[in-house]
């Protein structure tokens, strides 16, 4: 790959929105009463996240995350919490699959408005070594949702 092309991809990766969520993460902290709590780490890079969920009848009524990591993992976690808060379980499953599609380079996911601000992370797909950073919070979400039972 040519250098200028890579440079443009790097500019696309580090958008203002991502840096903003990195520096001012939303929904960061702990819930007073959590129904599910999942800790996940990426041993390769040391990124870590603790995700707490509060459930209501249909899905997730509230959630918080804590931990540390690179801008991609932190921004992904922050934007994810904004997106899934108040949504039903089936809808969250669908969003999670959609986000994963986008990380695997699915072009239709990039224009899917349901993903909202998370589309700012679409550039990560061009950096295979960083996809795991973007997925960390979502993997934690999947595991925490499993604690909801049926």
């Amino acid at each position: 790959m040519s250098r200028p092309e890579r440079s443009a991809e790097i500019a696309a990766l580090y958008q203002e929105m991502i840096l903003d969520h990195y520096r001012r993460p939303r929904n960061k902290g702990a819930l007073e009463r959590a129904d599910a709590s999942v800790e996940m780490k990426n041993p390769l890079c040391g990124d870590e996240i603790t995700l707490q969920l509060a459930f209501d009848g249909s899905g997730v009524s509230d959630l918080r995350f804590s931990g540390r990591g690179c801008s991609i993992s932190q921004a992904s976690a922050s934007m994810m919490t904004q997106l899934v808060k108040g949504k039903a379980a089936e809808e969250i499953d669908a969003l999670r699959n959609r986000f994963r599609d986008m990380m695997l380079g699915d072009a239709s996911a990039v224009t899917d408005e349901k993903l909202g601000s998370l589309r700012a992370l679409s550039g990560v797909a061009r950096f295979p070594a960083r996809v795991k950073c973007a997925l960390l919070a979502w993997n934690a979400l999947e595991s925490a949702m499993a604690e909801r039972g049926t």
């Binding site: 250098r3 890579r6 790097i10 040391g46 870590e48 990591g69 690179c70």
Partner: protein, 404 residues
Amino acid sequence: MKLRPDFPLLANNPGLHYLDSAATSQKPRAVLDAIRDFYETSNANPHRGAYSLSVRATERYHQSRVRIASFLGVADPDCLNFTRGTTEGLNLVAGAWGMANVASGDEIVVTAMDHHANFVPWQVLAMRKGAKFRVCELTPDGRIDLDFLSRLLNGHTKIVAITHVSNALGTINPLEEIVRLVREKTDAILVCDGAQSAPHFPVSFDSLGVDFFAFSGHKMLGPMGIGGLIGKREMLEEMPPYQTGGDMIEFVHDDRTTWNVLPHKFEAGTPNAANAVGLAAAVEYLDNIGMDRVRSHERALMSVVQERLAAIDGLRIYGPPASERSGVVSFTLADVHPHDLATILDGDGVCIRAGHHCAQPLMRRLDVPATARASFYVYNDERDIDALVAGIMKAREIFGYVPA
């Protein structure tokens, strides 16, 4: 030194700035040619055939051992056992000597700067044997705290495992002083992780004073998958074998087996002869440069990189002063995560390592989840430093400067 043309990967990628030699080095054409030549002219299974091709393979394998032993100051080449690399060498000592000699109540000492390869095998051994696993603390600037070490050592200490050079910080440890301390206060064996020393300055095993020394070929211009464990003859002879199978046996009966002599005793199975030949070519290449020159070249680069990086606002360098480090600089930049930094540098063809460098106990003590690490070798020059600095400035521009 203008060695870049000798390295095909670097010669073919003029814009590439490879600053990750502490992870693995690039390979000169001489090494690649030697491996190819072995397969094209001498390939047969060493030690097996009565035919002349197998004899040639055996000879080339043997000559490689002699050449590498001489490079590392080992008078008795049979005391150099080929392994896959440092990790296997250290596991060999833990598995063979350790399992046979360590008992409940004994103590094993490692340091907080050791690579997981010189940490975990000892931790596992201690747990299996009910021995105490003790970790020597470091000074704030990333050296072994010798007073702490001295207090850790006692009559129960059975093994002291210490890295010669820290892979994460570049700290060159005062091995002579450590050997004296250990000999004075214990009857322990001394195991040295030489993965980061053998490639970068002259090492003479026979005068180091340690009992075992493990190294990796791929970090010293050789191929991957070959390295060695050097040990004192009497200890290697006393130890039980590590793996069993072909080549390492003498006589196999239905009810018992006797072991082959050194060095075959610790080399079960078909040896990695081609890569041993490649590693011999690598040490030949290093000897032609001269290991003193390798060291002075890296020192000169380190003093430049130290000065250039220290001038960047918000950049923090870990470890002791540059003069006491090998060709490694470990750093963080304000609140930019090292992975983000590595991605941005990669965009400009600069390869650095970001992460915990297989030294999580050290990272915990530095209280950082990760650092960025640039490491230098014979083919690097000041242009690589220029590219590193330019990439760091670009990262600052992208992230905006916010003091951590």
